[in-house]
Symmetry: C2
Subunit: 175 residues, 2 copies
């Protein structure tokens, strides 16, 4: 226990601001809260797509793509490559932005890249139970972890079919 004051936040509209913020009554410090950036990639290899079965909550046991929160000082591309190393021990080549999604409820913006395996090598990282290349017809659609995984796999298919170059956005009416 120190002699310092605790911060004492009140919800208020700072002068000239457009949104209410938590402002400290003692010192006027404004505690801004900001949306978070998720970076990830749809990784393909010889016509198949790489999925990871989650070893962590939320959605333990369900399938997803390599993705996670962007870290301070990273570019989105660096973050997408780091997540693939962490979750699938995979080195990626990135080929452009497939999609920008907003998950409004979570204040998340997702930047999803098209990628291929640099050398064909992958295996489960510490956050994955298993990693597997799936033919499109064999994708476990009912066991995907998140709605955005459905969206990005559909948009990857659209891209491959020449139905748009991206970046795609949220499906109409979905956020």
């Amino acid at each position: 226990m120190t002699g310092r004051l605790d911060p004492l936040f009140s919800r208020t509209l700072p002068e000239g601001d457009t949104h209410q913020r938590d402002v400290c009554d003692h010192c006027g410090f404004v505690a801004y809260e900001n949306p978070k950036i998720v970076v990830g990639s749809v990784v393909t290899h010889r016509g198949k797509v790489l999925l990871c079965r989650r070893a962590i909550e939320p959605r333990h046991g369900y399938w997803t793509v390599p993705a996670g929160y962007l870290e301070l000082g990273e570019t989105p591309e660096e973050g997408a490559r780091r997540e693939a190393r962490e979750e699938a021990n995979a080195d990626l080549e990135l080929h452009g932005l497939l999609a920008v999604y907003t998950v409004r409820r979570l204040s998340q913006v997702q930047l999803i890249y098209r990628a291929t395996l640099a050398d064909g090598v992958f295996s489960p990282g510490i956050e994955s139970l298993e990693t597997q290349l799936f033919d499109w017809d064999a994708i476990p659609w009912d066991d995907l972890a998140f709605p955005t995984v459905h969206w990005m796999l559909g948009h990857q298919r659209a891209f491959e079919a020449g139905k748009g170059v991206g970046p795609f956005g949220n499906p109409v009416g979905a956020d």
Copy 2:
């Protein structure tokens, strides 16, 4: 002054994590810090581009495009339109993502849209000293507020010249 404990943060690597975090010695709370999202737009109208002269720091008095931090619960497109209303009293039509930049030093990811004025109307908002439509040859290049404003105006020119559809990224070597 209350009877609560102050948070007592130590810089440490939480189990299973890949980055050091500020973790509270009392309760184990992990204070994640995340990159911030800036949203903005290059707004054109009849071949001219809309710039705003900043009435706020940093870079008071210098010219920029309508842009600012994305708020909780907003889509990037909504944020870009809000910033144009706040800074230039302008309603926008958005036409796609022009660029995704990373300002590594500030842990900022910028999502910049191509836009036009919905009705040709604009005027200085509270954060702007003046707002003006510039011919390309008349842009005050030496008085632009930030390097990214140079980048996005260059990329808008490249787009208009058919030299790429975007989203463009940082110029090579610049972050």
